[in-house]
């Protein structure tokens, strides 16, 4: 009996694991069932998008951006177009700005619906996953009718959008919003007071505001710690300063707070889309740019608020038709970096880590690029 001893051991979670939302490998140092340390190993989904962009003309970069963060591809479109427009000082017509805001917010709702479904599925509840994807389908159908694709939209162009909205878009969009808003009570009703859901999320993965800020965490994860930081309010881009909406925050900083913040964001996005549909002006949707588009030499950093936090792009131009250097910043990268800080030494189980990872809403294409 005297020979018995205990020691820490390493468990590899991933690279292919359903709860890692892509291909992420987590090297977990375990003490029995409890996690001592977690180390993310990234790069399995690296496609060198930044490098590919250096070999493409500016309009050709937009389809590449779709692949950068494909859950909210509209926001990556907006990011690149906005940066290039600021660099080349291209005016965007009023109607195009409204269409862009409608698309961005619909995409944010779709992304949060995926979050709602996958988080519940990672915690063992299958019904919300089917519900979340069912309502997301309404939005995806709208996108398909507008731009022709369901995931990689390639809809925004430098100086506007590719084409105008279909004739029946506005009534269809309104009815889709009504359906989603009506389902919100079902979403919260089935989970918010569910004892298993509460036991899995409440008090798990608590993050402090200072700690999160120090690690560059943004988006709903930061807002769940009580910091009302939203680039749509703090550094308004496009026409976001015209809309009336709130930035939902929570104080607890745990998994449950992050879940509540995201659900509230769906409601706020619905509010924004409704206002944009009401104010949608008539007119042009695209400013013509030269076929051989060359922005002036210079550099620019542009950031927007994505459903996962601050998403930024740095473009360096030397006046050629191709960018000299492109650097992308995704919110998921910082959140994945922050994950070991949350987990280390708290004695969480692997099941808790799955819940933390899911509520951080990390997606790996954004991390690896």
């Amino acid at each position: 009996m005297g020979d018995l001893r205990t020691e820490e051991f390493v468990v590899n979670m991933g690279p292919v694991h359903p709860s890692t939302h892509g291909v992420c490998r987590l090297m977990l140092t375990m003490n029995g069932e409890q996690i001592v340390d977690a180390e993310p190993v990234i790069g399995y989904l690296h496609r060198a998008i930044e490098k590919i962009c250096e070999n493409r003309t500016y309009p050709q970069c937009i389809p590449m951006m779709d692949r950068f963060e494909y859950v909210t591809a509209m926001s990556t479109n907006e990011l690149f177009c906005l940066a290039t427009e600021r660099l080349a000082e291209v005016e965007v017509p009023e109607r195009a700005e409204y269409i862009r805001v409608i698309m961005l917010e619909l995409n944010r709702i779709a992304s949060h619906l995926i979050f709602y479904g996958t988080t519940a599925m990672d915690c063992g509840a299958l019904t919300p996953f089917l519900w979340g994807l069912r309502e997301r389908e309404l939005i995806i159908d709208l996108f398909e009718e507008t731009c022709g694709q369901r995931l990689t939209y390639n809809y925004f162009r430098i100086g506007g959008v590719a084409n105008d909205l279909p004739i029946d878009f506005v009534p269809k969009c309104r009815s889709a919003l009504d359906v989603i808003e009506g389902k919100m009570s079902d979403y919260t009703g089935i989970l918010n007071n569910n004892p298993i859901w509460l036991a899995r999320l409440k008090g798990i993965g608590t993050a402090e505001a200072d700690h999160a800020l120090a690690w560059g965490v943004t988006g709903p994860v930061l807002r769940a710690c009580g910091v009302a930081h939203d680039l749509r309010k703090d550094d308004p881009y496009s026409i976001y300063d015209r809309f009336d909406f709130e930035v939902p925050i929570a104080q607890e900083g745990d998994c449950y707070a992050r879940y509540l913040v995201r659900l509230e964001e769906i409601r706020q996005s619905i509010k924004i889309v409704r206002q944009a549909l009401d104010g949608l002006p008539e007119g042009e949707t695209r400013t013509k740019i030269k076929a051989n588009f060359k922005p002036p030499a210079g550099e620019i950093y542009t950031r927007i608020e994505n459903s996962r936090g601050e998403m930024g792009i740095y473009i360096q131009s030397n006046g050629d038709k191709k960018p000299l250097r492109v650097k992308l910043r995704g919110g998921s990268y910082n959140q994945l970096q922050f994950l070991p800080e949350i987990v280390r030494g708290k004695g969480y189980l692997i099941a808790d880590l799955v819940a933390i990872f899911a509520t951080f809403d990390v997606i790996l294409p954004e991390v690896d690029r």
């Binding site: 590919i52 019904t127 159908d141 009718e145 731009c147 022709g148 390639n154 089935i190 007071n193 569910n194």
Partner: protein, 208 residues
Amino acid sequence: MGVLKSFVELIRGLGIAGKHLGRHAITIQYPEEKWTMPEKSRGIVVLLSDKETGELNCTACQLCMRACPTAAIDIDAPRGEDKKRYLARFEVDHMLCCFCGLCVEACNFCAIEMSTEYEFSTLNKSDLIWDKDKLQEMGRNVDYVDTRKKKEPKTPPEADAATKPAEAKPDVAPASTGDVNPETKAAEAKDATSTDTPSGDTGKEEDK
């Protein structure tokens, strides 16, 4: 007390889920039933033919080849005896195609279009590289609005522009859209191989 409350909550959750029982299914039985794709849906790339003559609308200007971000389109357009370009080869590699639709946007002659067709899987990879004839055959079912035709009366000497593609180029291009600038035409005049190089490189990169 806690146990009772939890039990009540679980029953309540079941009740909410139960409301959805008996609703009609939102799924369809795929191979038998098929979804009607929206008009704008971006499926496989096809070449359009003239509605009357049945000839390809393509004028071998190679704008689509230069617009393609993945170098999926490959065109051979040598000069014929009359010094005009003609379309010798037009290949679309559907393994490289990313269905972005930039080629359709670049075209000024209603020659290339994305059909709503999406079923084109094969057992053999080489069957995914489609040549001119196959692209034309697939394009025959595609209905399109011929914006090109309306422009033709403005250039009376070349009423038969559609059948003689190279001839139509210098006159029709500036008339159809304002954004075809001299630089594009200068690029067109360049040797096909020199413009092909940058996109050709990246195509190889992705193969690896």
